[in-house]
Subunit: 514 residues, 2 copies
């Protein structure tokens, strides 16, 4: 059957218990039962949870064939934890493992081998890239991968749809009792937002650190009361790949032009007033929008109330200049952000549930005024794809994109009209990761299009002297430049399910022909 | 049947599903399933959770006859919240209510009327005092009150033994979304440690504040993601009764003598070394022990690693002098403590679960070296009573006493041998709140007795030149002074169940004859 946004959801997926997507906010107000983990009471005094190796922690955790394990991705491309843990699991002969990570990337290429060997049989993640994306797209994973937004993952864990048997949490610092922090140590990642829910909902929790510190390691991101074992290893990550020196500001004139237009569009809307809230993605034009926003704030005497999201140096600059009241931080992308969350009294670590879970009693994204986000593709229904490449292969991550887009009053997608030989604005995206009903404005290097659902915004933008066009017009221009794309050679078999934030099925990804 | 410490537990109580106490640590290592609340998802953006009155919040929460509500006691004798909420519940005609509070006191005398009127039919609390203690002791409550330690309460809530339908959380500050803090406002209580578990486990959460602040009120003690409604009222408490100006240091020579002996006993043990951890109760001699400890630390060049518990100015003084590394704070008793938790970078708010829950993966009390605690009575088995008076009427609170006593390597009880006409050291305490197997040393104004289970400590204390006696000898001296106490005129009926930390029954309290 077709879901609300016209995507065909095969009966076999519905038979697995999935519901088709029924539109933005369809589950708003629904009640559900939060699950809890099975925990072991430690009542007697005891000294330490230290175990000498990852292998021993795996054995003590009781990990068995068929279980689900979890990881976070705060170490990004510098992560060593997934590969270290998986190597020991494989060496122990444990199989039929589902990895439920907050995200996975090209740092985790070895997992592709374990998928091909049938050791890893399930994947639940936001991002999927590199060799892992290739093997899943080519049908090597035994079960369909389940792809979720960051908020959707928290919802799934809290509701018990994902039950984590053992969480492996890489932590820049930990004490012997498992009080763990994102800050300090050799592999500083600033915050541990993604891992917080894992610690609270997994049956067993193993903290892996390369920097053991004195008890109590406070204030903790991960609380000792949730931790079973602590393992100290030499290195949990490569600091150079965890955080860049600073977000590199684009010098590309096309990017800068689009960034300036994003800022102008924002300033034209009713939401641009003193105390608005703001999020940008980490892409070039999104980031550069901060630069153009700054003089507009100064001119009007406005201050941004709070900035949220993955944090980069432009947000930190605005905070340090007093143009932002508060930064609420779910991930750090560069060294200035790490330093700021350590030191600035109005820069706070939050859990991903606070950031963007659609099924709690009110995440920060619900109160967002503006978000500027990128896209691999956007179609004439304003549906966005950030997961599959133009060859149909998995190589992206919905991340917080669908969450922020759903929450923000004004969601701006910024993207060039074409990338190389690919039309970014197209008739039908390969995979819908963010439904078009959550997107308000598209800014491209060939013009601005406003979602017809937002006639109010269109009027405001045009009243400010910004010319708009239609997304159909932009799509035709794109096809005129690069030609109409050929259909992708998909097989019937579903290799990945793209969940909406609320757990229903937004789209499926099919196997690509070899 | 008799439980492990020889207390008769009536069959009717066992028939209710309670287990008899089986000894310290009997449930250590046991696994259990944590429960979760039923929550309503707020997916769409929305502005505010503000409702104009407590009455409306009660109505919106869906509170019905037979439900369980919760409160915290951070406002101590200055609390207005319980009475305000209960008055509205009564006015709405809702009945058969169970109050599951972290503690209740003489500020809540009106609840005694609601018990007599049959509106409040269940009580689950740590403390019970004033008129409420009187009416419960006289058999007016429909069901036996369930008395728990602070840690036992968290265990009961997390395991689902107590299911909170609606939590009413008084908060010194809150934003419109429910991010609530113990700090600031007109009714500053420093921390909201007791309420944290309520917010995470109650189906509905109502924050009641007298100081609404800008969003986001960060870092929050209570997270907006757990809050349904926010009510702003004129006053949630009386600041003068919430925190005293400063903990008054006793000048009583008898108290000072006992305090000095406590410090000497500590210094005699193997646990007195650089980096030890420490807790004191807020009673006169316990507090005064800090004064005698200070020169001993300076002389040896020792530093206390961390202090935990209800915090008072002596602990803050030690922190400010650099003699303590960290304060971990579950409750503030005076203004210096409030100021310190606001301002000192090594003074941290913790949840009561982190403090002393016996059923998580390792609370702070498990790592305590020393605790000094008071007693209403202590018997020759070292069992302590801090709940019933010498007349058999409920007028105390186990609080964190059983938790710290169970956790600490060296638990010192300090009490004068007699108080007025009452023998503090006796043959059998009226009610056991902390089992004797958790008590190591008794310090009185007539001598020091060491629990025979701790021959090691006795040898260390005597080696330091401190003369010890037996607890039987102390009891005989007490009876010689004030006479043998008459048996109390108890009826058969059980009016309260004193749970051990692990949920088994330590003792029962019977109805007192009118």
């Amino acid at each position: 059957m077709k879901n609300k946004i016209g995507r065909e959801i095969p009966q076999e997926i519905l038979d697995m218990g999935f519901e088709p997507y029924q539109g933005e906010g369809a589950k708003d107000g629904c009640e559900y039962q939060k699950k809890g983990p099975r925990v072991r009471a430690y009542e007697k005094p005891f000294e330490s949870k230290l175990v000498p190796s990852i292998r021993e922690a795996i054995v003590k955790s009781g990990l068995k064939d068929g279980m689900t394990i979890s990881f976070h991705h705060h170490f990004r491309d510098g992560d060593y934890v997934v590969n270290m843990v998986m190597a020991e699991i494989v060496a122990l002969g444990i199989k039929d493992i589902t990895i439920a990570a907050s995200s996975l990337g090209s740092a985790h290429d070895p997992v592709a081998d374990y998928i091909e060997q049938g050791i890893v049989t399930g994947l639940q993640t936001s991002g999927i890239r590199g060799r892992m994306g290739e093997v899943v797209s080519h049908g090597k994973l035994k079960t369909p991968a389940i792809l979720r937004s960051h908020g959707g993952r928290i919802r799934a864990v809290e509701s018990g749809e994902v039950h984590i048997d053992v969480a492996f949490i890489g932590a820049p610092t930990s004490d012997c009792y498992g009080n763990a922090r994102g800050k300090g140590g050799k592999s500083d990642c600033g915050v541990l937002s993604y891992a917080m829910v894992d610690a609270k909902y997994a049956d067993k929790v193993v903290v892996i650190t390369d920097t053991l510190v004195d008890f109590p390691n406070f204030p903790p991101s991960i609380e000792a009361v949730d931790v079973d074992y602590v393992v100290v290893v030499d290195e949990i990550g490569n600091p150079k790949k965890i955080a860049s020196a600073a977000a590199r500001m684009t010098q590309d004139p096309r990017d800068l032009m689009m960034a300036e237009m994003c800022a102008k569009v924002m300033a034209a809307t009713e939401y641009f007033k003193d105390g608005f809230s703001f999020q940008t993605g980490a892409g070039g034009p999104s980031l550069a929008a901060n630069r153009f926003l700054e003089p507009m704030l100064v001119e009007k005497g406005y201050k941004i109330s709070w900035i949220i999201g993955g944090i980069t140096s432009p947000a930190v600059d605005l905070l340090n200049k007093g143009l932002v009241g508060t930064i609420v931080d779910a991930q750090d992308f560069d060294v200035p952000s790490l330093q700021s969350v350590h030191n600035h009294p109005r820069h706070f670590e939050i859990s991903t549930s606070q950031y963007c879970n659609p099924a709690n009693k009110g995440a920060f994204v619900n109160k967002l005024d503006f978000v500027i986000l990128a896209a691999l593709e956007i179609d004439t229904d304003f549906n966005v794809n950030v997961i599959t490449g133009s060859d149909g292969v998995l190589r992206g991550a919905p991340g917080g994109h669908p969450d922020a887009a759903a929450g923000a009053k004004c969601t701006i997608i910024v993207t060039p009209l074409v990338r190389g030989r690919m039309a970014t604005v197209c008739e039908h995206v390969v995979t819908v990761t963010t439904p078009g009903e959550c997107v308000d404005v598209l800014v491209t290097d060939y013009g601005v299009a406003v979602n017809p659902r937002r006639a109010d915004l269109k009027a405001q933008i045009e009243a400010a002297g910004i010319k708009t066009t239609t997304i159909e017009e932009l799509q035709k221009q794109a096809y005129a430049i690069v030609g109409t794309p050929d259909p992708l050679p998909f097989e019937e078999r579903v290799v990945a399910i793209m969940e909406a934030r609320d757990g229903s099925v937004l789209d499926v990804v099919r196997q690509i022909r070899d």
